[in-house]
Symmetry: none
Subunit: 209 residues, 4 copies
């Protein structure tokens, strides 16, 4: 803070990944050139290659980052008091941090890339499995699951919940400009909440007023 050194530790990797995230969200993986990234990061092209073997490695690293972030969210969700609160944490984090447009565009592109880049596919599968296993476990242990009115297994409930979440995220890229980001988000959240209550309905009052 009082240190006069301009940049104590310019974590280049992170700097490059941040720039790449912006570029990828803006134009997609394959429309983003190394020049775009270097320009956004304010460094030279060659320098990127000191930190990443090639463009694919940048994409993989971003997927890795995405994985860590999601795992942190999972940890937070595990600490929630109720199942619905946990789901809300997951749903919100998945789509709402940063500008939702950016995240959504990136994630959809990530899945598109996964469908043909095996290394990325592996990463996405991995994070997907981890998080879904975590949520399945959460559901299986939740008291809210006891008096359910459906015959969905915890696993199936998880699949349903994630499908809704991913599906909404996918639609997000269309950027229906008839509403602000937060309004749109609120609408989606409301739908999701109602589904959750339906799935984990307790006799008592609705969780959210």
């Amino acid at each position: 803070m009082s240190d006069s050194r301009i940049e104590p530790a310019p974590d280049r990797r992170e700097q490059i990944l941040n720039a790449a995230m912006i570029c990828f969200a803006r134009r997609g993986f394959h429309q983003t050139s190394m020049h775009h990234i270097s320009g956004e990061a304010g460094i030279s092209v060659g320098l990127i290659y000191r930190y990443f073997e090639n463009k694919d490695a940048v994409i993989s690293a971003m997927a890795d980052n995405h994985k860590s972030e999601i795992q942190q969210v999972l940890e937070r969700a595990r600490g929630a008091e109720t199942l619905l609160a946990a789901l809300e944490i997951l749903f919100t984090a998945h789509c709402c941090e940063n500008e939702p447009q950016v995240t959504a565009a990136f994630v959809v592109d990530l899945f598109a890339e996964a469908s043909r880049n095996p290394r990325v596919a592996e990463l996405v599968r991995d994070v997907t499995k981890t998080v879904m296993d975590g949520v399945t476990d959460l559901i299986a242990r939740a008291t809210e699951s006891k008096n359910a009115t459906h015959d969905l297994t915890p696993r199936q409930l998880t699949e349903l919940i994630f499908a809704v979440s991913d599906g909404m995220l996918m639609r997000e890229v269309l950027n229906v400009s008839t509403a602000t980001d937060s309004e749109r988000r609120e609408r989606q959240l409301e739908v999701a909440r109602r589904l959750w209550r339906l799935l984990f309905k307790s006799e008592s009052a609705p969780v959210y007023a």
Copy 2:
């Protein structure tokens, strides 16, 4: 030679679009070259430019095609006897015709492209709106919607149903090879069906045991 009444050329546009669909699903829009398409179609590169202004126009035309197909499915769904049957038609068509992998890869790429190509975005938004309006209407008029145990409006129900469908399609690209296409599909369909029954539960089971 002088006879120009009978269709002299095969439907080139369709031929090209079919080839493009295969290529796009295989490698994505921006990884597919015009030569890939011409090779797959068995024609020369130059010929593509007689039918499409440029590569973007091919992509847009594919989105157009996708729109027509989905609208046809909507028509079929409208003729179904019950709401659940209609949903099943929609869900199945959306994901199951052709090889699901192909369709899934294409659709995810289409959404990714929509997030930055305004013309594609416009088309996708259009088809999305049309189909969702259609389903909302279907739901609003369905007798199954009367005795619902939730407070979801027809519009919200539609959003929920489509989110589930799209979300599952998105996961499809990961191609978890632990099951055949149809097995995977069956599992997804089972989850979706249970949701639908929960949402439009009719005959029997009282909501509160």
Copy 3:
């Protein structure tokens, strides 16, 4: 001849290879860029890739060409009346057609490349073997070989003769500018001739006045 068409068949491959030969001789394989070649050939860079998979393929094709040329020379040598005449054909062709500097620079670079590019090495080994086998055969059958004053086998004689030829070619790149090309060549030829006479000495008069 009377045909008014400007270029009846612009054998692109040959055109490119000619340009490449000039460039390679001028600056070596790895100092020659595809731009250099395309410039020398008067075409665009991209066009080279219609005819050659990549730069290495151009090098290999040149080595191939070199092989054909040498084999033709071998054929001519086979038709010579005396062994010494045959050797003179081989020696002269190997080093003297075109500008000797160009050929020499190219061949030395070719060997240098062979020492690390397996595909080129294979080609050079192949042509080397073919020609040396041919000459060994020529020697074995020549009457001049009968009354030799040495105990060198035909194979060894061949090795000796080729070593001399190659060694002189190697020196050629130094371009000792104290003499014209042809003078230098004449000096080399004189030395070589004397060696050959020594090796295949007949009792009679020297073959060449």
Copy 4:
């Protein structure tokens, strides 16, 4: 720290040149990067520039080194008891020290480089002249030259002998793996020896049987 009398740094120049020799032999001058050299030498890239102005200077210095080595060999040859012994020293040194492959690849590359880098050409010409002058002198003074059966001048004999030596070295890079290094070498040496005896045949055998 204040002591600067005793050689504080190891002989960096030599260390770098040794590393460069290994790299150059392995991949050729222009395929060797400064990083390759620094890596092989176990130092940083920047340090090379403290001892050499640029990459070309490294190449020139290597040629210089090569020159010194050859001159030392010439000195040794001068001390030999017979002409044939002297030639054997020269022939053996030229091709056999270190791994022959390495030397051969380096020398062929050196000549290739000489054909377009004037500074290198100058050096190679210089060393060539020095050594050939030395050998010419050796031959002129040798008693073995007296009763020769040929009309070759000492200069021409030198050219012949060196051509054979260089030609065999050039072939060496093809590394016909059908024999070990030493076996191959022995075969070459045998051919060369027979030539020498033919050229400087002394004691016994009359020329005409």
